[in-house]
Structures are given as structure tokens and as C-alpha cells.
Symmetry: C2
């Protein structure tokens, strides 16, 4: 009666620690102790408690635990677009690796809306023990400001000036140069780059890489065409590509390349006989296009699991602000069937 005014709810409530305690004839504290194996508790009592727990099917309430322990065993990931296979693969790798250590992942999709990123990341951080920010589109200044507030943070495809947040990145500049070089080695002299999203840092890196390539190969023509990041944009660029007269096409990524492949096929342009096409990322599908796509492979699966490892390191060494690993992966050119020597008599 005098137990409190909220006793009414006790009827249809979930079984709690108190129920187990009562059934086992001990206190809450003892139940907690045996559930967590913390302090030494008399084996007999422990057994009694465990029996009561299984009988009542007691499962500790994670929210209560989180509040008491100050951790949620959950990490958040924010991605620009969950439809992108690259991010899907990272998410998957992260999720599986985290699960192995008993962590779960909460997802947030910013749908390429730059202004949402900071908000989503903040919310995720408050709910989770850490956040991985995947290819954020926000500006450098904003990122620099946001990073410290997110602290257990790992960055993918971006870096901060302060080196105390680990980052994972792919050397897109290097990769695109190698692909260009591959085409030149085959004999191509007229190339075109089908560029990606404006705010994508990885797109900028490709452009920088291509600038360098141009400087080293002044004899090669290299056109820049505006594109996007998905099939449809690749497909839509078909006419522009044909009109460009280029024989070697560097697509922003595999998706764009696949869209283009499809468009060229429809137009009766043969790949690689008439035009060579390269992708980027080596998504699982790249191996199965017709023809199989020459691309620069980024270790898409490792990225997710390494992100988790970096996150775990930070969570464990809580507090110590040491400088963190800045991992950079070199892409590996994967030569398949979508590239070949150009026809002997080019159209020009």
C-alpha cells in the first residue's frame, strides 16, 4: 500500500531484477552481482539466483543497465545514401565486426542532405558509445568543429587536421591515375572522366589525381564530363560520352560505369572494342557485368571491420587523447574485360 503511487503498473510489467530477488530470497544487489559475475557470491546462493532467473526468464533491461553503466554497447553510423553498395558493404562489415564484440549498430541515412549530417551524427552520438561518419559531405570547417563533440569517432573517406580521430581512407587520386595509365598503356589517347557528386571528397581526390596525370601526360586528351554517383546518371551520360569521341572512359564509380555499359549496349556501341570503360570500387556486381568491369578495387569489406577495430580501440582507451591511426588504402587495379586496345582507326 504505502509502497508508492506507481505500484499499479506492477501487474502487466516485464519481469525485473526485483522479481528475481524476491523469488530467490535475496536482495537486488545480489542478483545483480550474480548476473554480472562481479563480486564473489556464495555458490549456493548464486545457484539459487540463477535458477530463479531462468525460471522467470529474467533478462536485464538494457536501458537500465545503460543508464547505470554509462554505456549502451551500441555505435552509430551515418552514411550519405544507404542505396550505395559501397556504404552498404561498409555498414555490413561494421555490423558484423561489432556484433562479434557484443556491440550493435544504429544507422542514420542523411539522404545526401548535407545539413542533416551534423544533426544526425549528434543524435546518434548521444544514443551510442561512438559514431562512424562515413564519407560526410559537410565542409571541412564544419567537420573540424563537429569532430571533437562526437569523440569516439572514426572517419571514413575524410580526415581532420587534428590527428586524434582515426580515419580510414582510400587513395582515390592514386587509383584513378592508375586506371588512366592502364588505358594509356593499352593505346588510348582520348580519355574522358565522368565525375561524381559535387560535394564528395572522394570526387575531389579523383580530380586532383587526374590533374597530376595530365601534367605527366600532356599528350593525352582528357575531357571532364559532369555525372553523378548512380546507374541512372551513367546511363544518362551515354550520348555525351559517344559525342565526346573519347575511346577510354573513366567512370566515377562502378555504378556509373554499369549505367554507361548498359547505355552503350543499347546504342550498339561495343565494349571494349569501340570504347573502353573503367569503374571504381569493385562492388560485388562488377565481376558480373557484361563485359566484366575493369575497376580499381577498394577493400570494401575490410573498411567496415577496420572501422570497428579503430572504434573499439578508442572505446577501450577511454580518455587518453593519443594520436590515432590514419589508415590509407591503396586501390588495386582489377583488369577485366571492359578495357582493351582501341580500334586501329579511331573515328577522329
Amino acid at each position: 500500500m504505502g509502497r508508492g503511487h506507481m505500484a499499479r503498473r506492477n501487474t502487466n510489467r516485464r519481469v525485473g531484477i526485483a522479481d528475481v530477488a524476491e523469488k530467490a530470497g535475496v536482495s537486488h544487489a545480489t542478483v545483480s552481482r550474480v548476473m554480472n559475475g562481479n563480486a564473489a557470491v556464495d555458490p549456493g546462493i548464486a545457484a539459487r539466483v540463477r535458477a530463479a532467473a531462468v525460471e522467470l526468464k529474467y533478462q536485464p533491461n538494457p536501458v537500465g543497465r545503460s543508464l547505470a553503466l554509462g554505456k549502451t554497447d551500441t555505435i552509430g553510423i551515418v552514411v550519405p545514401d544507404l542505396a550505395n553498395p559501397t556504404f552498404q558493404a561498409i555498414l555490413r562489415g561494421l555490423s558484423i565486426a561489432a556484433a562479434q564484440d557484443g556491440y550493435r549498430v544504429l544507422i542514420a541515412d542523411s539522404s545526401e542532405v548535407t545539413s542533416e549530417e551534423a544533426i544526425l551524427a549528434g543524435e546518434a552520438r548521444r544514443r551510442c558509445d561512438g559514431v562512424v561518419l562515413c564519407a560526410p559531405r559537410m565542409g571541412d570547417a564544419e567537420l573540424e568543429e563537429l569532430a571533437p563533440t562526437l569523440h569516439p569517432l572514426v572517419l571514413i573517406n575524410r580526415t581532420t587536421i587534428a590527428t586524434n580521430t582515426p580515419s580510414l581512407s582510400v587513395d582515390y587520386g592514386q587509383g584513378i591515375q592508375e586506371l588512366a595509365q592502364h588505358l594509356v598503356t593499352l593505346g588510348h589517347r582520348r580519355l574522358a572522366f565522368l565525375s561524381g557528386p559535387e560535394h564528395s571528397a572522394s570526387n575531389r581526390q579523383r580530380l586532383v589525381g587526374l590533374d597530376q596525370f595530365r601534367a605527366e601526360h600532356p599528350e593525352i586528351e582528357l575531357q571532364m564530363l559532369h555525372g553523378g554517383s548512380n546507374f541512372d546518371s551513367g546511363h544518362e551520360s551515354t550520348e555525351a560520352i559517344i559525342a565526346s569521341g573519347a575511346t577510354g572512359i573513366l567512370a566515377f564509380n562502378d555504378l556509373v560505369a554499369m549505367g554507361l555499359l548498359s547505355g552503350l549496349h543499347e546504342r550498339g556501341v561495343r565494349v571494349p572494342e569501340d570504347i573502353s570503360v573503367t569503374g571504381f570500387d569493385d562492388i560485388p556486381f562488377a565481376k558480373y557485368t557484361t563485359p566484366p568491369l575493369t575497376t580499381a578495387a577498394v577493400p570494401i569489406n575490410e573498411l567496415g571491420s577496420l572501422a570497428w577495430r579503430r572504434m573499439r580501440e578508442q572505446i577501450q582507451q577511454a580518455g587518453e587523447t593519443t594520436t590515432q591511426a590514419q589508415d590509407e588504402f591503396p586501390p588495386r587495379v582489377e583488369i577485366r574485360k571492359s578495357t582493351a586496345a582501341p580500334a586501329l582507326t579511331p573515328a577522329s
Copy 2:
């Protein structure tokens, strides 16, 4: 001093409701009231509190809120394999729809390990306000037993006997029959079905559909070949398919069909001239294979968002155990270029 033995941590702690209360010269309760806009509070005081909140950048701790409110504003989803584009699309649709209502999603990948499903689902449920179980591989009995304990639950690709848990399903049996019919109409007389995972309910539905098809078309030869659910299994089946002598192949899903397409291409078998191939699901890539894949389109994007809608309905009408919607989607045959009339003089 006498405030308690845990006062030490107060230094580097996050700003809490108490800090705001102190700064504004009011009590916690009042801060809570203005933050939640619940009870009426004097406009002057409210303004003061709000000012203090923004100045301190106060953001309520979600774990504390969750404990007090008994809800987490999070739902869980458990999928058999995050690498499967179908599940990725569902996840994405779910996530985006839920986000619109201020909910987040926690993911759990069972990696096709049947025995993990129940555990993952239970854990997810305890952390979240509801769970969507996506194409669970567990047996009917186990599912039936588990369902009530998960309660705000929505099932995808499975149903329970008790109709109080909403389910979303696709009529795979119907879809596969229509695809078979399509092939027959084109003139094919020798078909083969490349089947999927043993424990997949949707695979069983396809088999049932094909049994019916056989009954209605005794004159058609229909072989059953063992396969899997991803490209590689499709690719590996290439030889068996060629050996079968069938001219019309019904692949378990688009992934398998794509693997097969690639394998046939390598072997110099022309599609659709020599062999026709169909997929299932109409994943985004299906439109861009060479040749574009004839398949049965399931409304993959709607599935996720509808799942959220059904979940929301349950969360809102908390308690009332009415019977829930059992949505069934008819697949729509999408005829592309991977199917055509068989050659006039079949090999047999």
C-alpha cells in the same frame, strides 16, 4: 560535500538537466517541463530556461529519457544476410520511413545462422520499441512461439497462425508461375528451376507454385536444380544448366540469374538466343545487366516503408490486440531482354 560519494565525476561530465536548472534558477522539473512543452509554465521562466539550455548546449540524455518514458524511439530489424540487395532495400526503406517519424533503426544480421535469429530478435526487442523480422529462417513452431514475446513485431516474408502480428509477404508462388508461363508462351518446352536456400520460406513458396504449374502443364518438362541465393551459386551452376538441356531457366532470384548470365557469357552461350533466363525481385541492378533481366518485380522499396507503417500502427495502439493487416504483394512480371523464343531447332 555531503552530496554523495559520486560527486567526483561531476567535473568532466556532460551537461545535464541539473546544470540548466541551476543556471536558470529553477528546478529540474521545470526544465523538463519546458523542454517537453508539457504543462503550462510561465512564459518568462520558460524563456529563461530555454536561454540557459541553448547557452549550455543542453541536449537531454536519451537513455535517461528512455528509462523514464519506457520507450527508446528505436526499432530493430533482423535480417538473414545484409549482403542481399533485397534486404538492403528493405532496411533502407524502413530506415527512411522510420526516420520521418523520429525513430531510428538498429540492425542485426544473423548471417543465415538460424539458431541466432531468436536470440538476436530478443535482444533487439529489449533495446527497442519493436522488431521487424525479415525473412526469418527459423522453423514455424519456433516462430509461432517467439512472436508473442516480441510483440510490437512485423513479419516480412513469413506469417503466423495467430493473426495479431502484421505480416508483409510477396506471392512468390504466383510470381514464379507467371514467369514460367511467360517462358512457355514464348515457346519453351524444357524449363529448369535453380532453387534457393533450403530454409527459405520464399523458396518453398516457389516450389509450391511450380508444383501447381506442373499440374496445369503436364506437357512441359521442368527440372529442379540445387542452387543458392547469390551470384556465386548462379555462376557455379552454369555447367549443370547447360547439361540440363533446358532452354528456359527460372533462377531463384536476380543475383543467381546474374551469376548464371555471367557464366553463360563466358561459355559462349548466348542469352536469350540459346537460353532464356529469368530472375526474381527486380533489384536495381536487374535493369542494367546485359541483356537486361526479365524478372518478377517485388515492390522492394515499398516493403520497408510499409513495414514501418505497420509497426507504427502497433506502437500507437499499444495494448489493443486487434487482428493486424496481412499484406500480400503480387509480383509483377517485368519482361526485358533475357528471355525470347527458343531457337527453332532445339538441341534435343
